[in-house]
Amino acid sequence: MAQIRIQNVRKEFGAFTAVRSSTFTIEDGEFFMLLGPSGCGKTTTLRMMAGLELPTSGEIFIDGEEVGMKPASQRDIAFVFQMFALYPHMNVRKNISYPLVSQGMKREAVSARVADVARILRIEHLLDKPVGGLSGGDRQRVALGRAIVRRPKAFFMDEPLGALDAEFREHMAEELRALHDRMGATTVYVTHDQLEAMQMGDKIVVMNHGVVEQFGKPQQIYDWPATKFVAQFIGSPSMNFLDFEGMIGIGGDSVELGGVKVHVPAAREGRAGRLTLGVRPEHVAFRDDAPYRGRVSAVEYLGTTQIVTLSTEHGDVKARISSGQAVREEELVGLDFDARTLSLFDAESGKVLISEGNEGVLAHG
């Protein structure tokens, strides 16, 4: 079990930079999510940690030891691939015992360990079967078995649930999280699915275009996104953006949005020019006397809640409200934004402005 530290790691493939100077720390025992759209560099980052790619520059520490240039076989880590990568010419037992055999472990010890792992994963009945005939879930379990059998310092998983169908995914996600809690091993998990990341992770790194956009606990990231990209990528539907020309001074707690005063958390940095107000759909409420108006253009019914799309003079706004509330299309309503939860972004750079709300979460200066 180990702490993993990534320091200024950079990876170039020819002229293409896959990862630009990333820095973050994964604490011992954490379930850590690397989240981002495809091509954002998350898998490359993971592969560098595992030793399948060598960083162009920067340092990677596992358990305090710099391993950036060491081959994978010397890092004492386990990797679970999206397509499982079970050795097709070996049966389940051989697949699971393979990492132990390479360490030269005695046969009795190997079979004891394999039996142990098979019991934990409930695949004892599969041990002597060839891997070819196994279902997706069973393959996934065998792949996990091969990873946990050697008790490595850390587990790296590259979209391990990506190849499973939706129904089974949910189940495996729970199983995986339970397994992690039981073993307490540092786990780094790559996914493009923000729901999966929030559901399973202790901490999340959000990456885009090879850059770490934000790093923190799921709720911190959801509530106080550091950039417009994060705000948009996380949450479904994503955060509403209202672009406007305006200004806010240090200590200011409101902005002028189309002549309407909107309260925001007290600003810790000021900015004038093109700004974006970010508001989560669940923080939009309907109040007849609210001065900011919108016209209902669509209603999506989702069971307990409904998503109402409103056109306003600053673009479409989605609101998540209780299904009990009656809404008619084309109706004109007043919109009330929950002042404590709003984020203000610099529209040019996409970066959030530090305020009373997010200063505790965002350390950037």
Binding site: A72, S73, F79, A85, Y87, H89, Y98, S102, R150
Partner: protein, 313 residues
């Protein structure tokens, strides 16, 4: 199941397909049957017209291909006394005695050494090269691969004279090593290209998994890639062996006394009275056996090998 199905052919379709396949098989196998039958005929049966479908089989041809014989006068024959072995007896009735073994066994052994030797070399070099082309960043990879392929774009015999001169000055003429090298050079492009295709199909994650499981790159190649490339290796080996085994032109040109293979030797089998067709046919039949056995042993792989990549698993 309904009376019409897209996947299951009807009985009539099966019959038509069956007749076509059997018919085609018969046509292709006919020369082979002809040769095998001729091997068991007497020289006069072999050249009889109309050809004899039914005849009394004899192993004379087989005895003749392995021996040289001398014609003796009646007195000399009587002086020799009774023949001691069954093959002595067989030739004695034609007024001949066996004067010694022919060089067929030796030529056949040459064929085995050169054929299998070049196949092994081709597979070893081909697998390693194909692996490198498939997995590593090789500068000018595409150009190199095209260059390798281009060695196949002319008939190999077009370079016979330069090779003949090179071999002569390098002392490789009429040596096993020379022929093995030559056949390897000719086959290597085929081997690299075929094997690269097979190795490309093996997901790189298998090796990465092995690397993480604590194996070195070579161990990963040896323990994980090779077993999965077995199919490709087997079918490539068959193609290489068949070429090296059957090659005639270079063998005629570059070998004579020492390293001559069976193909140029078999037609030179001349009987005491004219061309001994049964002996030639017997030689050809024996010559066919190793390739047939090799192919049958590997046929499971061959079938998968030829259709490999055509169907997504």
């Amino acid at each position: 199941m309904s009376s019409y199905s897209v996947t299951e052919p009807s009985l009539r379709q099966k019959w038509v397909a069956g007749i076509l396949v059997v018919g085609y098989a018969l046509i292709t196998i006919l020369p082979l049957i002809w040769i095998i039958a001729t091997g068991f005929k007497t020289p006069s049966d072999a050249i009889a017209y109309p050809p004899k479908t039914f005849f009394t089989p004899t192993v004379e041809g087989y005895v003749n291909v392995f021996t040289t014989r001398t014609r003796l006068s009646q007195e000399q024959l009587q002086a020799l006394g009774e023949p001691t072995t069954w093959y002595d007896k067989l030739v004695r009735k034609d007024g001949l005695v066996i004067s010694g073994p022919s060089r067929f066994a030796e030529r056949f052994t040459n064929s085995v050494i050169i054929g299998f030797g070049s196949t092994v070399l081709c597979i070893v070099l081909g697998t390693v090269a194909a692996y490198a082309f498939s997995r590593f960043k090789v500068p000018l990879k595409d150009d190199l691969l095209f260059f390798i392929l281009s060695t196949r774009m002319m008939p190999p015999i077009a370079v016979a004279i330069p090779i003949f001169l090179m071999f002569r000055s390098l002392g490789l003429s009429d040596t096993h090593a020379g022929m093995i090298l030559l056949y390897t050079a000719v086959n290597l492009s085929l081997s690299v290209w075929l094997l690269k295709g097979f190795i490309d199909e093996i997901p790189v994650e298998y090796e990465e998994a092995a690397l993480i499981d604590g194996y070195t790159r070579f161990q990963a190649f040896y323990k994980v890639v090779l077993p999965q490339a077995a199919t490709g290796i087997a079918s490539t080996a068959i193609f290489c062996l068949i070429f090296a085994w059957n090659e005639y032109a270079f063998a005629v040109l570059l070998t004579s006394g020492n390293a001559q293979t069976a193909p140029p030797f078999i037609p030179t089998i001349i009987g005491v009275s004219g061309q001994d067709w049964p002996a030639v046919a017997a030689g050809a039949t024996i010559f066919l056996v190793p390739v047939m056995v090799f192919t049958i042993l590997l046929r499971k792989h061959l079938l998968r090998g030829i259709t490999f990549g055509a169907v997504r698993k």
